[in-house]
Symmetry: C2
């Protein structure tokens, strides 16, 4: 999916909601556990319940990998079930030396058919560029994450330029790819930083986790982050998919997604 198509989706749905499919057997409703593939069944119903309001789905790969080969099958079925006009993100945070990154790219872009993958920048250019060789596929590079440990290294200040490490990542990586193929992960708990990051990357989409359960404010993120093509995908995982763990989990997810979409619709008018 290209940037124009993504923006069309956003305009059509008045939403920049990404639903995180962090599907955990210990958290899904008990009545699903007897089924042959409870993970897929849960995802299927969540997708049906939220696809009207979601412009992206983001399975965090750890949840599937933890289940062994069966988890990968649930993931593949889930990906196939997501409607084609919705953007898909493999939240895998991969990154390795060149020929190995290429294999990860192959795993997520060819063996599976994700639109994008999250990538860790630590190993530098030749760990990132192999993902960019796939037409129409996106890299979503970790920039400033939403966890407390993000302060350990991402905020170090470079002696030469006075830039923070995460700023170096944002600036340098823009030489490797245009905003048609490169997004950044920017935590919503960093609303104070989003204005600055928008200056550094005016045209790139940001994938923003940390709204809701992790405490970030959707209005702040939107106010400082929206650009002329929206430029935001705001993720909610637990707040939507686990808002009920009874038989009504899908209806509850529908209600939560709608609530967020209503706010987003307002912010699109107000701040974009």
């Amino acid at each position: 999916m290209n940037k124009v198509q993504l923006f069309q989706q956003i305009q059509k749905k008045h939403s920049y909601l990404c639903v995180g499919l962090d599907t955990d057997l210990s958290k899904i409703p008990a009545h699903l556990l007897g089924l042959e593939d409870p993970v897929f069944e849960f995802n299927r119903q969540i997708i049906d319940a939220t696809k009207e309001y979601a412009v992206a789905y983001k399975p965090n790969i750890a949840f599937y990998e933890a289940l062994g080969p069966k988890g990968w099958e649930s993931l593949a079925k889930t990906l196939e079930y997501i409607p084609n006009d919705i953007f898909t993100i493999a939240d895998a945070k991969r990154g390795d030396i060149g020929n190995t990154s290429k294999l990860y790219a192959k795993a997520f872009f060819e063996t599976m058919n994700f639109d994008s993958i999250t990538v860790a920048p630590y190993m530098g250019e030749d760990s990132v560029t192999p993902f960019l060789e796939f037409d129409g596929k996106w890299v979503i590079l970790l920039a400033h994450t939403s966890n407390t440990g993000s302060n350990d290294f991402q905020l170090l200040t470079d002696r030469e330029t006075g830039q923070a490490f995460y700023e170096k990542v944002i600036l340098k990586s823009q030489k490797w790819a245009s905003s048609d193929q490169l997004m950044f992960v920017v935590g919503a708990t960093r609303a104070d930083k989003i204005e600055r990051i928008r200056e550094l990357a005016p045209d790139n989409f940001f994938l923003v986790p940390g709204v809701g359960a992790q405490g970030g404010s959707l209005e702040d993120v939107s106010k400082y982050g929206l650009n002329k093509e929206c430029g935001l995908l705001v993720n909610s995982s637990r707040g939507i998919i686990y808002s009920s763990n009874g038989e009504d989990f899908a209806e509850a997810a529908n209600r939560e997604a709608l609530k967020i979409r209503e706010d987003m619709s307002i912010y699109l008018d107000k701040y974009m």
Copy 2:
């Protein structure tokens, strides 16, 4: 496996060789391709041919992941086949926020039974510590890697302390775990840096890729990197496993592994 047991292995075999199982269907001998599980069959024969000289095996997970669920089955069978007294490394370069890192840890330490996993440090403490909660399991943290892109970010100098980013990683992470659970990835192409890194982390094991195909010198690595408990696992992948792509691939791998072991045996006497 603990540090004492690892050092015993090294002393018994006069070797600190790690064999990288980067098993690629496009590179393994043609006569294996008709078998039901060519990846496992290749690994099985490589393990049989090298286990006398190898103290560790390191499958790079990308190679298995690229094959989908079948790849994970080949990986699981390979791991089971490796003798219990040989150290196993999941070269996965994972790292995510706390509860998600825990799932990755579960995938590699419980669903599978690896001794260790490589982890990327970008997201900081709470992305690394979940891996440390598993008794007898190791984190091998990326510090200074062997690829050209490693210069992009790892060498940035922190304004406050004058330390390079990779040095910060080495220093800070030692507060999270002792050398009984924490190793570092240090590229062999950085022999000039190994002396410095050994000063920063006198007791930790280093996993050293980049000898051979990537051009690093085993003697330099050994001279500057060996400590009183060896402290090195030097990896060779392509140089051993693809030294022949004929029916004699296992014998060829045996010869290459022996050659490296002979050098290592000399360096252990000379530099340890």
